[in-house]
């Protein structure tokens, strides 16, 4: 079966005034998402994960442009589509959940209007069928007394409820794939758990695929089937979630795993020295080499190519950590 979404060698750059400064936000990202799976995209701020998502739905800022690469949804290339064609795809086949539920709901429209809109345009529902659909969606995201609450406005709801409304909107157009960009960052931990469980339930019920963008490896461990780790615009490692946590191959992945505190364990934390690089002035060779403990001469000159990991993923490193190697 062909993958649902296939991103091939995507390059998205932001151009400064008269092209004097080029920020290579995404610089050759390749990955696929299978139907019904949860694909994690992890990395620190500024690594290009959000730009990757915005490229997929073609909602880049005016200074951003997809320079090369293909984004195929069911075999159709989205990069060459016009914006009016994209409008039929966004909210219909691809839905998005953004970080800030305050900003992604319109304060001037009722919950009913906002949840109904994708179903109106993409599923052509009208009248009582539309009303039924909205009620069903609100019930699915566990909004109590949906008939009453659908008349409310966003400011009448709590943060967790608003984010559940955004979840209902994302489902309303009947999408094949939902891109969730840090959807729980502003939520409290107990509300975050409720929301993550809710997304899993929705996914089980509808079979929708999820792209989960996050910097939180805990969320990855809980939610994802496969994970790609991004650094400076490139995917440096891609593996199944268990492979990534138990056998990280890229030194950056290992360093990320070592830098999260574990509950009830007081071993010293190891951060990663230095800062993520400036995307308009990347270091030569592997962009991680200035922060890498395993860096060799070759890393400073040649950019590592993608190596296949026995079909379970890939890594971009000249000196990947050996499988089964003891933690140093």
């Amino acid at each position: 079966m062909p993958p649902l979404l296939s991103v091939k060698d995507l390059r998205t750059y932001y151009f400064g005034f008269r092209g004097t400064r080029v920020v290579k936000a995404v610089d050759g990202a390749t990955f696929t998402v299978e139907p019904g799976e949860t694909f994690g995209l992890v990395g620190e701020s500024g690594c290009g994960k959000t730009t990757t998502c915005h490229s997929i739905v073609r909602l880049l800022a005016p200074s951003g442009r997809i320079v090369s690469g293909r984004i195929e949804l069911d075999g159709e290339d989205l990069v060459t589509k016009s914006q009016s064609e994209m409008r039929r795809i966004r909210g219909g086949r691809i839905a998005t959940i953004l970080q800030d539920p305050m900003a992604s709901l319109d304060p001037l429209f009722s919950i009913y209007d906002q949840v109904a809109e994708p179903a109106y345009y993409h599923q052509s529902l009208r009248g009582s069928a539309l009303r039924q659909r909205v009620k069903q969606l609100l019930t699915a995201v566990r909004i109590p007394s949906p008939e009453l609450r659908m008349k409310d406005f966003p400011h009448q709801m709590s943060g967790g409820m608003r984010q559940r409304i955004v979840g209902a909107i994302s489902q309303a157009g009947g999408p094949r794939i939902i891109i969730a960009d840090e959807p729980t960052t502003n939520l409290d931990v107990t509300i975050q758990l409720q929301y993550l469980n809710l997304l899993k339930d929705l996914q089980r019920a509808t079979g929708v695929a999820l792209i989960f963008v996050t910097h939180n490896l805990g969320i990855v461990a809980k939610m994802c089937d496969r994970v790609a780790v991004m650094y400076a615009g490139r995917i440096v490692e891609m593996q199944s979630v268990r492979g990534l946590f138990y056998r990280p191959r890229h030194p950056y992945t290992r360093a990320l795993l070592d830098s999260i505190p574990k509950l009830g364990v007081k071993e010293p934390l190891r951060g990663i020295p230095g800062q993520p690089p400036d995307l308009s002035d990347l270091p030569a060779g592997c962009s991680f080499h200035p922060r890498c403990q395993r860096a060799m001469d070759r890393c400073r000159v040649d950019e590592p190519s993608e190596q296949d990991l026995n079909g379970d993923g890939s890594v971009r490193c000249w000196s990947p950590i050996e499988e089964g190697a003891a933690r140093d």
Partner: protein
Amino acid sequence: MTEPLLAVRDLQKYFPIGGSLFGARRALVKAVDGISFTINAGETLGLVGESGCGKTTTSKLVLAAEAPTAGTIEFEGRDVAALRGAELQDYRRKVQVVFQDPYSSLSPRMRVGDIIGEPIKAHERLSSADVRARVAQLLELVGFRPDVARLFPHEFSGGQRQRLAIARALSTSARLVVLDEPVSALDVSIRAHIISLLEEIQQRLAVSYLFIAHDLAAVAHLSQQTAVMYLGKLVEVAESLELCAQPLHPYTKALFAASLPSHPDEPREDIVLTGEVPSAIDPPRGCHFHPRCPFVMPRCSQFEPPLVELSAGHRVACHLY
């Protein structure tokens, strides 16, 4: 046992809301409702809770930025509310703060040397050469070269700015630093640096921390003791490792269940709380947690459980025990 550096007893802070300028006030927000804890010299108390539970109000009370409605805060054996003039000034010198957002807590118009030097000038009479020398020491303490003193904050990344904020908090030889979510705004790889730096500084200077955060793992990592707060009250206080190994209060258990796993197969107790934190204006009767509690009993909605010591140093407020 030595006397604690900071002893907080039955601290309350109520904010009146509603009502007109002349009319009677309509309601009280019980932001902090009778909490007690102590912090020993050179140790860290972690304070965990969700938004709106009163963590930040607690920090403001400790910083003497707000006056408590009732209860006392004793620092080095003296009641903070009774301090006046030079003594209060000295208290402010000894109790400093690091805020969550290093982008808004450093003035963009001041050079780093002035940002860190300003508290020194305010509290001590030193020549400007001495201030510069002290600033240079502080910058080295947080891992910078002394010549960054002439730069402006915009030239630093978030993690670096947070290190500057730490240097500023330590500039007046503080004995207690209130850390109000100091790593929440930072990237994971940078977070680990800041936490390690705070640990290192504590070992070198024997400073105490009140570490406020919602990330249980980070709190348990940095602090000797952890206190869990819910709707203005402490529900459980224990030694951090003990709390991780054996959380007793259902809310603490739920927080642990909700904390994210460090690998895909890490077991989690299956406690999913329903609903959200109720309003502090009209908290539920009895135990504040009972409407969300999976182990709720009839008396939970009637009587408020006191915070009782179950074993040495492990206090919990729950009718189950």
